[in-house]
């Protein structure tokens, strides 16, 4: 872009929304900037943006949180296609041309795909003592190595072998539990994406795209699962969120 046009403060994009004249929520953007709604004539999609010059050179955690708060405020009362954190155009005009006008069709389809839907994330983990007890009780290879280690606690080779056996047993259990949880959640929502759990005893993180009307039903399904697995697995639920995991990637791939 031409160097003479650097007068513009830049256009930081948070999200795409339906262009329906609804007023913006009363929150500020990154760096305390004011939110604006920008669109092009004839478009049904609008972008929620703010000036980018309030962004510090090194973005910090507070900037991420400011971005998150804008998205949470938007998803509270409208459909949202969240944009990846940190996306800036040189000016509103360039954003309009390169994003809204150039991708009118795909963006409208994306917005339709998330109509009246939100994302709920379910993070599942094992209770360490419970799953360890299970594995020791059910796997004779693990038990055998445990007995070896009991007698020779300083034998590193034996400890590694015990851990290796344990790890294999845990992997098998984890993939089965993740599969079952996914299947149960699938029944109560539109779509799911599954990723690995975190830490040694994580099971899975399952993002659910769910219609706002069926939110209660999904939550009840999660509670029933948590109840059935009490003491064995923990369930943490995050949301409602904008459908981050379901519009993730370049427009050409997800639009």
């Amino acid at each position: 872009m031409s160097q003479t046009a650097v007068e513009s403060p830049g256009c930081y994009v948070y999200a795409l929304v339906r262009h329906d004249g609804r007023p913006l929520p009363a929150v500020t953007g990154v760096g305390g900037s004011e939110l604006r709604i920008v669109t092009v004539p004839g478009s049904k999609v609008a972008a929620v943006v703010s000036d980018a010059d309030a962004l510090p050179e090194r973005v910090r955690r507070t900037d991420l949180l400011a971005h998150s708060e804008v998205l949470q405020a938007l998803v509270a009362d409208r459909d949202v296609v969240p944009i990846r954190f940190g996306s800036v155009y040189p000016s509103d005009d360039e954003m309009c041309g390169e994003l809204l006008a150039a991708n009118a069709g795909p963006l409208q389809r994306l917005l339709a795909a998330v109509e009246a839907k939100v994302e709920m994330q379910v993070k599942i983990g094992y209770d360490e003592a419970a799953v360890t007890t299970e594995i020791v009780a059910s796997d004779r290879h693990v038990r055998k190595m445990r007995d070896v280690v009991r007698v020779a606690p300083a034998d590193n080779g034996a400890r590694i072998e015990l851990g290796r056996r344990f790890s294999a047993a845990l992997d098998a259990r984890r993939s089965e539990d993740a599969r079952q949880a996914t299947r149960r959640l699938e029944r109560s929502c539109e779509a799911v994406t599954v990723s690995g759990g975190s830490g040694d005893f994580g099971v899975a993180k399952i993002a659910c795209l769910v219609s706002r009307k069926k939110l209660r039903k999904l939550e009840e399904a999660i509670d029933r699962m948590a109840d059935g697995q009490a003491g064995r697995m923990t369930f943490e639920v995050l949301g409602p969120l904008p459908p981050y995991s379901f519009v993730s990637g370049p427009i050409a791939e997800v639009g």
Binding site: M1, V149, G163, G202, Y244
Partner: protein, 124 residues
């Protein structure tokens, strides 16, 4: 009844919950529509962020940690019989926790209270 811990993103951004906040930030960095923007803000300075190791790559280190987990279990179940006091305490704690749903502080349960709770369940 045990209820899943529930977080609303807005609520806990202010509270600085241990695992929840990291989860939201991770989503923000990782997910969302990727547009052909002119600039993507550089993410230096986000080193404050703690993102758990995602997929655990099996390594000698992991194996040793697992061996340790089996060992810990031995210690807990071995020469350490639970007293009635422990069992009752475990039960009470558990009840209180399920009432405090949504409280980030309630997310972690002690290993020993878990075990005593379990035994109380088996005996009844």
């Amino acid at each position: 009844m045990t209820v899943a811990q529930r977080y609303v993103a807005q609520q806990y951004t202010g509270r600085g919950g241990p695992s929840g906040l990291a989860d939201v930030l991770e989503v923000l960095l990782d997910k969302g529509l990727v547009i052909d923007a002119f600039v993507r803000v550089s993410l230096v300075g986000i080193e404050l962020l703690t993102i758990d190791a995602r997929v655990v790559v099996a390594s000698v280190d992991t194996y040793l940690r697992f061996a340790e987990a089996v060992n810990r279990l031995d210690l807990l179940q071995g020469s350490n019989p639970k007293t009635l006091g422990d069992i009752v305490e475990g039960g009470v704690e558990r009840g209180a926790r399920s009432k405090a749903k949504g409280a980030v502080e309630g997310a972690r349960e002690g290993l020993s209270s878990k075990l005593s709770g379990e035994r109380a369940g088996q005996r009844s």
